[in-house]
Symmetry: C2
Subunit: 415 residues, 2 copies
């Protein structure tokens, strides 16, 4: 018999308990051993819960119980999750988690502790909610050299952008709706400013390229500046705007590229059709080509099911360590964002001069865009592919020529 | 050191050898042990191959070499693949394969032999080419009760249907083009008549529902009867026609549903946008909701990369048996196709009577469709959702009323 413990009885934690007891019989068949859920750690009281006898308030009760073989850490945040996780791994307990912040910040370290103690540290639920992505990237695509990962990694911002695109809502109204529906938190900064997506692309990049990538090395731009005008220009050229996290292997020993930013994406591509709160992740391998994983990227039960699947994997492995890991790094392994080559959508306004003519003078050639009710002093266009540094230089020149830059969004090459 | 052997040096086999030697270093890092490829079995001579020293003609050379721990069977077909696979498993060698025919026919038996000998039998490459689906379905979604699997499982027919939809080609021209491009074989029956997709949905259903499903129990209808008119009617209601394999868990102890057939699919859904030679598989779990896997469903390197990834998984497991398996069955576990409830597209012609009026008389209510240049004596419509038996009855009545049925295609409810 293998006993589980769950640390934290919030949204994901209560989902984990629900999924475990609902599907326990089939889980035991898949694990090949009887399974129990012995403890739930939470500082709060749940006197009416059907699982009220399982609650404990003292972490040491779990740590010191050698019958507990697998611990689900679904507290979130760095502390006390980090201390608890280390302690469990060092005591020979496998740990599974949905905690993207912890994995993005301390993944290499925790994987090394797990390996040293011959247990597992698994985190399928940390990226893409219920979408299988960590294990497929690690195991199923093991024969590939992964070249690139591009994902729509945050459901809240995708919901907002979908409402802006489909219903012409402003960013503010779409955010308010997302908050009313419970898709966005009262303080939406982590989602809207791209920090959540940034942690996820760091985890994917670390796994794909074998070396820890820290969030503070990755440029993250959110969606708060996107306007209805930008959305209309995107639509005019067959595109939608999506918040993407992208990471590309550095060629010939150069540093990798990694960033989070809104981008124009061709509506007719697999990523371009991912709407509402759904997530999708494209993985490009040298042998298998492009593979896309799609599903609900968040939510209690999808995320919980990913946590429970990892618990089963640990129960099956029982004492043997899966080899998932990546090298630690000191950081600084991501190329400066200025080196990144991309075409750029620019929306400008000029009163004294013609914005489009000024742009053509400087860029040589641009793709002009239009939209219904475009004011005559507004211009929007897509630049040729240049480094972001070059584009910033040009924007400086445009400004010097009396052209205000109102919008600036990367254009993703067709996948 | 773990030694591999490859049985069969056809398209997939040569891809396996290529991927192995190209990515050997990273494969060894992932496996955690040195790896060798010691033998390639083929009856033919390859005097100019860089691997010419590895070729053997006698299977027993491989079977009797105890240093060979993992064998890739990429011969295809039932024999001699079945005999070779059994012999290897019984000698304690893990076997990985892309052989969908063998897995669909003998999967339960071979998995049991593998388990009894504490080795692995893995077949990620048998469905979806390079798309990870077998392991995600088994492991990553382990916490779910899988309710339904729907897939576009055959790239050749998807290419043909895409050409018919996008370029208005006839079935015959699109097939000829597919043959010219090497996507379809000279004898295209296995693809075009749905047998290939049928084997794949059997494997997915067996894994998802835990009990062997035989191809001869699953109704398979191909795409040869689909005309440009059908495609035009589909487009008129926002649909495309795709060849799908579908399997749904039987409710309350009833038999499961499983079939292969062309179907109208809403173009705006994840499956509806899967074009050309790409495959996509939707898995519906009770906790995770819908998850879709997308990528190249065939081709030398994608399929080979899935085989090699399984070889690595076996090398890592080294002597321990993964628990993937399903129960044997005597067959007969699929409900008769007549019980299947679906809306149906019907295209009819009548000379003596009004086809649409006759249909309304019998069905009560239908959704009438139109297309450019529709002849006045032609009618096309979508019926209410009924059992296929009821629809067949009604078609009989229509025929008796002087209405010829020219086309009949299932309509997939929006996913």
């Amino acid at each position: 018999m293998i006993q589980f413990a769950v640390l934290g009885y919030g949204t994901v934690g209560s989902g984990v308990v629900e999924v475990f007891f609902r599907n326990r019989e089939s889980l035991e068949r898949k694990a090949g051993v009887p399974l129990g859920l012995k403890y739930i750690l939470d500082v709060r009281e749940f006197p009416d819960s059907p699982y009220k006898d399982l609650f404990v308030k003292d972490f040491d009760t779990i740590l010191n119980d050698d019958s507990v073989g697998v611990v689900a850490e679904v507290i979130g945040g760095v502390e006390p999750a980090l201390t608890f996780t280390k302690a469990c791994l060092e005591r020979g307990k496998s740990v599974v988690t949905s905690n993207k912040e912890l994995v993005a910040q301390h993944g290499a370290e925790l994987l090394a502790i797990a390996r040293a103690n011959n247990v597992n540290y698994l985190f399928e639920a940390s990226v893409g909610g219920g979408i299988p992505i960590i294990r497929p990237l690690h195991s199923c695509l093991a024969a590939n050299r992964i070249e690139e990962v591009i994902g729509i990694l945050n459901g809240t911002t995708n919901f907002i952008l979908t409402k802006m695109f489909r219903e012409g809502m402003s960013f503010e109204s779409a955010l308010a709706l997302a908050q009313r529906l419970g898709y966005a938190e009262r303080d939406p900064a982590a989602d809207v400013e791209g920090h959540d997506a940034c942690r996820k692309i760091c985890i994917l990049a670390s796994l794909a390229f074998g070396e820890h990538v820290y969030p503070h090395d990755v440029s993250a731009e959110g969606i708060a500046k996107i306007t209805s005008e930008d959305v209309a220009y995107a639509a005019s050229c067959g595109c939608v705007i999506k918040l993407i996290g992208a990471a590309r292997r550095g060629e010939d020993g150069k540093k990798m590229t990694a960033y989070v930013a809104p981008a124009f994406i061709n509506r007719e591509t697999q990523l371009g059709t991912i709407d509402d709160v759904f997530n999708g992740i494209l993985v490009r391998g040298d042998a298998t080509g492009d593979v896309v994983f799609y599903g609900k990227g968040a939510g209690k039960l999808p995320t919980a099911s990913a946590v429970v699947s990892d618990m089963i994997a640990c129960a099956k492995a029982d004492g043997s360590s899966a080899s998932m890991s990546w090298k630690p790094s000191q950081g600084g392994n991501v190329a400066p964002q200025g080196d990144h080559v991309t075409a750029m959508y620019l929306r400008c306004r000029a009163f004294e001069t013609n914005a489009l003519e000024e742009a053509v003078k400087i860029f040589g050639k641009v793709k002009a865009l239009s939209r219904p009710d475009k004011p005559t002093n507004e211009a929007a266009f897509i630049t040729p592919a240049l480094t972001e540094r070059e584009i910033d230089d040009v924007c400086g020149k445009l400004a010097a020529a009396g052209v205000d830059i109102l919008g600036k969004i990367r254009v993703l090459a067709d996948q």
